[in-house]
């Protein structure tokens, strides 16, 4: 029998050696349960796990853990995201216990966007611990059954621990080392920032493979389909550490009026197929921002369906 860290669907799929395919769901700006269920329906059967963002871009939304519970009811494997911006170590540990108590089995540890971008820029931030310290803390809770202060936990949480990586952010030469730090801290899987420059990502993965990091951790490459030329430009200029090659923008433009979205999907599908063949890449994380209904189509075109079932 296979030993699992949490036994989440994502962990099982990865351990069985399948190429994983994960999706994302941004909770609504309200207590709109139906909105979550609707997004869940689009994703169901198409992905192995669904990331649920934690006040993404520092905008208040339904809490990640509660949207995770709704997704779980809908039969999905949620990936609970937690950022360091809003909680101190007490709140973090109690939420970690809480999600595990409710059967959530994946967790992604992030620094979080600074609140100055968000809808409450006057807020006081926390940043008691950082994302790497958060990874270590979850691992300690799970593997040693101990709180950060060393005290014993009565029934430790069981979580498959994830972390993020931005291969394109500066200083570039340090990014692979920071990834190594996250893996050393205890990350079981990594989901990268969205990739548009495949050449640079290939170079990055070569370094990852050279350092043997892909053998210590599952690396899922991030993909966000471009819906329009405007979105591509926005990604290229407004999102820190994001690089969108000019030829991609040209391709979207060349598709003609009203056809950029289709071209964007085509590009994403080609990327997924290329990533599938790339050494060290264990899966793809598809962040179809407010485009959940297009996920089934992308999954199908990319040959990601049907999703494997691992018992």
């Amino acid at each position: 029998m296979t030993e699992y860290k949490s036994g989440s669907n994502l962990e099982k799929v990865l351990k069985a050696g399948h190429f994983a395919f994960t999706g994302e769901c941004g909770p609504p700006r309200g207590a709109n349960v139906e909105a979550v269920r609707k997004k869940a329906q689009h994703l169901k059967g198409c992905v192995d796990a669904v990331n649920v963002t934690d006040n993404q871009t520092a905008v208040v939304r339904m809490s990640s853990w509660s949207a995770c519970l709704i997704l779980k009811e809908e039969g999905l494997d949620p990936n609970f995201q937690m950022v360091c911006r809003d909680r101190n170590r007490l709140a973090m540990q109690s939420d970690i216990l809480g999600v595990s108590a409710h059967g959530i089995k994946n967790m992604l540890c992030l620094s979080g966007d600074h609140q100055r971008f968000g809808d409450h820029p006057e807020a006081k931030n926390v940043y008691d611990i950082d994302s790497i310290q958060l990874i270590s803390m979850v691992k300690k809770m799970r593997d040693e059954g101990k709180f950060l202060n060393g005290e014993q936990i009565d029934v430790p949480p069981k979580l498959f621990i994830g972390a993020a990586c931005n291969p394109f952010a500066e200083p570039l030469e340090f990014r692979v080392y920071r990834l190594a730090k996250k893996i050393e801290a205890g990350a079981d899987f990594i989901q990268t920032q969205c990739i548009y420059n495949m050449d640079r990502f290939r170079e990055f993965m070569k370094r990852v493979v050279d350092m043997g990091l892909h053998e210590k951790c599952y690396i899922l490459a991030g993909i966000t389909p471009l819906k329009s030329v405007g979105m591509a430009r926005y990604m290229a200029t407004q999102v820190p550490g994001m690089e969108v090659p000019e030829e991609l923008i040209k391709r979207l433009k060349g598709a003609g009026k009203g056809k950029a979205a289709e071209e964007g999907i085509k590009i994403a599908v080609e990327q997924i197929q290329e990533l599938r063949e790339m050494e060290g890449v264990a899966g793809v994380h598809l962040m179809a921002i407010e485009w959940e209904h297009r996920v089934p189509e992308i999954a199908k075109l990319a040959g990601m369906l049907p999703r494997p079932k691992v018992e």
Binding site: H114, D130, Q133, S136, C165, E170, P171, Y177, Q193, G241
Partner: protein
């Protein structure tokens, strides 16, 4: 030094509305160095108050004095024979000064004339930048001599985050990404191995989070 900036004159005038005998108290410490609360700024504020009050047809008496420091009781004591001549004091020291004055002279109203911003230094004439968060446990030697607690927007001990953008912070292009600087300096010094160590969570007990702080040095206590 402690870096402060002048409160808008309008705000100060609103504070002291209704008072006609006002003493403006400066400080020869940090606020003199950052051009906000020394004898010169005391004279400017006093003059501005006189003009504004006169404009409103009020007859005022505005006194000016600049103390050696406002964070030492012995200098605050110098106000002893002066305060009774006034109804209100505007202190141009950092947040410490007006509190020391109002503790010493509970009968008089004390107003802050400056906003205390941060602990930092002048990086050029007229430009100051934060350098220290006063966390009470200095760790800059692990980070190439730069403080990620004060200078990283997220106080990361294991940075840089994914928002580092061409040497600038995701929060604003006006803010340097200190982790970019730390990484480059440490790599140039051949100290990558030190950066690869995971820095454990910091104890904030010695920071403000541990409650208001007080320091006693027995060998100095009389």
């Amino acid at each position: 030094m402690i870096v402060a900036e002048a409160k808008p004159i309008k705000e100060i005038l609103e504070m002291i509305d209704g008072f006609n005998k006002i003493l403006v108290v400066g400080c020869k410490g940090c606020v003199t160095v950052c051009n906000v609360g020394g004898a010169k700024e005391v004279a400017i504020l006093a003059s501005a108050i006189r003009i504004a009050k006169k404009k409103k047809g009020k007859d005022v008496e505005v006194g000016e004095i600049t103390l050696e420091r406002q964070c030492d009781p012995e200098y605050i004591e110098e106000l002893r024979n002066i305060v009774q001549n006034y109804e209100a004091i505007v202190s141009l020291a950092c947040g410490v000064g007006p509190q020391f004055i109002s503790e010493r002279y509970p009968e008089i109203r004390v107003f802050p004339g400056v906003n205390t911003r941060f602990m930092g230094g002048a990086i050029e004439h007229g430009v100051w930048a934060e350098r220290c968060a006063g966390c009470g446990q200095c760790v800059i030697h692990y980070f190439g001599g730069m403080c990620p607690i004060a200078r990283c927007s997220k106080s990361l001990m294991n940075g840089p985050c994914g928002g580092s953008n061409h040497g600038k912070c995701e929060v604003s292009p006006e803010i340097d990404c200190i982790w970019d600087k730390i990484v480059r300096k440490m790599m140039a010094q051949g100290r990558l191995d030190e950066l690869l160590k995971i820095r454990p969570p910091k104890s904030w007990l010695t920071a403000r989070d541990g409650g208001p702080r007080k320091m006693v040095r027995e060998e100095l206590v009389k």
